[in-house]
């Protein structure tokens, strides 16, 4: 095993590239993504639909069987990308808990929720039926389901959307994972329920000392809830740094535009960009230079032609890829 990352690092991704099969040639949807998350910290991954957030998560989880993937994904020091599929699934399923976007479709309507919460704990940890049931009931209680004993044997259609998402969180926790991923976990919920679920995730992450990744298109969700934020655009990392610093002094033109547009955050998402599966031509004919150049107010010919290199701040914690970053004046104050 190569130089092992520092002990508290749970997930370390290095240069992840992902090509999806397509006609006439494969489409690159991720371009050299690198980041890491440590125990007790949380990372926000922000981007519009089509930016590659879901692809990134699927790639990390090994849920992209048809894609061609390069780069390393280290989970607790193990390079999971290099493992055989069966082994990899077992390691990831055991160490990563994930909550997906749509709670209405994430639960199998034909299987009692108790079994759905506990099945991977029984499989990975070898719990007995009784131990698994105890754990599932306890988790239902943790995520705030009243009457957990009774709910254990209900089918999913007895629950509302918010309740289902709580059940999905309980499912994600069943193997006591080191990393919890919430992939747009609140997008499909009512605003009031969104806040409850986000608060629950935060409390659970802190109590259980996990690492957490919050994937969202909504900057407001990331603010104040995450330690670091990673901004994706067109499959590239355009900016990455401590959340408060990125919010106070964004350097990339895209992050800045996003922040200034925060009151009507939804607007740009519906105007120009396309999602990956729906309209691949945009990604297939990706610009040679900065992916944001076509929409950037200060783009020059150079921006369209050459890909900006990643600039790292003096303390090494803030990085961005922009030929003409927003004035660095404010950056002196850490």
């Amino acid at each position: 095993m190569a130089a092992s990352p520092e002990p508290t690092t749970v997930l370390a991704c290095e240069g992840i590239c992902c090509h999806l099969p397509a006609e006439p040639r494969p489409v690159q949807v991720l371009h050299g993504i690198s980041f890491s998350v440590s125990r007790r910290t949380s990372l926000g991954i922000v981007g519009e639909s089509g930016a590659g957030k879901s692809m990134l998560i699927k790639t990390i989880m090994g849920l992209n069987p048809t894609a061609r993937i390069t780069g390393t994904v280290r989970l607790d020091g193990t390079d999971v990308a290099s493992l055989a599929e069966k082994k990899r699934n077992a390691v990831i399923g055991r160490k990563v808990g994930i909550v997906f976007q749509n709670p209405m479709t994430s639960l199998n309507p034909f299987v009692r929720v108790g079994r759905q919460i506990e099945e991977h704990a029984r499989y990975h940890l070898g719990l007995s039926r009784r131990e698994a049931k105890e754990r599932a009931i306890e988790l239902l209680r943790v995520v705030g389901i009243a009457d957990p004993e009774e709910c254990y044997s209900f089918y999913p259609h007895h629950f509302s959307g918010g309740m289902k998402q709580r059940i999905m969180i309980a499912t994600a926790l069943a193997c006591e994972p080191d990393l919890l991923i919430a992939d747009e976990a609140t997008t499909a919920l009512d605003v009031t329920v969104q806040k409850e679920i986000l608060d629950l995730l935060q409390v659970i992450q802190e109590e259980r000392q996990m690492a957490m990744i919050l994937v969202t298109h909504n900057l407001g969700i990331v603010a104040g809830r995450t330690d670091e934020v990673l901004v994706l655009y067109g499959g590239h990392v355009v900016e990455h740094g401590p959340t408060d610093r990125v919010f106070a002094t964004p350097r990339h033109r895209y992050t800045a535009a996003l922040l200034s547009a925060m009151p009507q955050l939804d607007q740009p998402a519906h105007t120009r960009l396309a999602t990956i599966p729906g309209q691949p031509p945009n990604l297939a004919n990706a610009p040679k230079g900065c992916p944001f150049a076509p929409r950037c107010p200060v783009a020059t010919a150079d921006c369209h032609e050459t890909m900006p290199v990643m600039t790292v701040s003096a303390d090494g914690r803030h990085r961005f890829a922009c030929h003409f970053p927003v004035a660095a004046g404010a950056e002196a104050a850490p």
């Binding site: 989880m61 849920l63 069966k86 699934n89 077992a90 390691v91 990831i92 399923g93 055991r94 990563v96 994930i98 997906f100 749509n102 479709t105 994430s106 639960l107 199998n108 309507p109 034909f110 299987v111 759905q116 099945e119 991977h120 499989y123 990975h124 089918y155 259609h157 999905m168 499912t171």
Partner: protein, 321 residues
């Protein structure tokens, strides 16, 4: 228990009621058609040399001289009392005759369905989870070819191979299961083999499509993310959610299977309802034709009651109502 059974009874009676118009349409149309038939039944029974007086007498005796409406209501009145009339020539009770004949057809049809289910569903489950792989491509091609081979061609070719060239199985004949189970198996094999390929291909196609759709569901992605092995995901999370649709198609394919069994029975001289209706059509034995049409409609209604009940067993979201 009786309180729990009540909604089921209600659901069943709804289906039964819905079947009544179909039943009336079919049987009335058959009555009307029979009066169009060239050469009256009386003529056929009495032969070419019958005098017109003899024919009129016989017509009056059987009610063939009545208008269509009256004949139909007379027949319907009998049916309500369980009387389907008597066969034209041997004067047997049609109802009793059909019970024996239907048992034969059902045995063949259900065995064919069973065999095709056992073969098609596991293959569909496996190939749907490995789409585009060699086995998937090969099986899909085989299925489309089998779907293009009419039953009468299958019958001829398999009879040639198994009965004439290999001499493994008898080309004609029948023995009832109750009389001699082993001989029954011996005679039933070739008819079932002839019905199975088309049914298997059809079921494979439908089931593969359903499994493929279920594999796209979010809850399958969740199960994969949980690191569950593929075999577990297929059996626990894919099979059952796909079954309701498969069941519906299975029910609908029953009419095809019946049609196929007509061909098979006529070719292998198996005394089922297909063989019976062919000889009845030949001899203008109207009561038999009418009873078989009624029976077919009834089978269809019963099958869909079973499909409905299957839904309630498979899908926890379906309430009986």
């Amino acid at each position: 228990m009786s309180a729990g059974a009540l909604p089921y009874l209600k659901a069943i009676s709804t289906r039964l009621l819905a079947g009544i118009p179909v039943f009336i349409l079919v049987t009335f149309a058959a009555t009307a058609l029979s009066s169009l038939a060239p050469g009256s039944a009386a003529q056929l029974i009495l032969g070419e040399n019958a005098s017109s007086q003899q024919i009129a007498e016989l017509n009056a005796a059987y009610g063939y001289d009545l208008p269509v409406w009256e004949r139909y209501f007379k027949w319907l009145g009998g049916v309500v009392q369980g009387d389907f009339g008597r066969t034209l020539f041997s004067q047997q009770s049609v109802a009793k005759l059909l019970v024996d004949r239907a048992a034969v057809t059902f045995e063949i049809a259900f065995l064919a369905m069973f065999v095709s289910f056992i073969i098609a569903v596991p293959l569909a489950l496996y190939t749907a989870s490995h789409p585009g792989k060699l086995l998937d491509t090969v099986l899909r091609s085989i299925a489309s070819v089998l779907l293009s081979v009419p039953t009468f061609v299958t019958v001829v070719l398999l009879a040639y191979i198994f009965a004439i060239v290999l001499r493994w199985l008898p080309a004609t004949g029948w023995e009832n299961f109750s009389d001699d189970p082993l001989a029954n198996l011996w005679y039933v094999t070739l008819p079932v083999l002839c019905l199975a390929p088309h049914q298997t291909a059809y079921l494979y196609r439908v089931a593969r499509g359903e499994f493929l759709a279920t594999l796209q569901e979010d809850f399958v992605t969740v199960a994969r993310a949980k690191g569950m092995p593929l075999s577990y995901i297929l059996l626990r999370h894919v099979l059952r959610p796909s079954l309701p649709q498969v069941l519906t198609v299975l029910g609908l394919s029953m009419t095809y299977l019946l049609g196929g069994s007509f061909i098979v029975e006529s070719y292998f001289a198996v005394p089922g309802i297909g063989w019976t209706i062919l000889s009845a059509v030949n001899s203008h034995d109207f009561p038999v034709v009418q009873a078989i049409l009624s029976l077919t409609v009834a089978i269809f209604v019963v099958i869909f009651i079973l499909v409905d009940l299957g839904y309630t067993l498979i899908d926890p979201r379906v309430d009986v109502s």
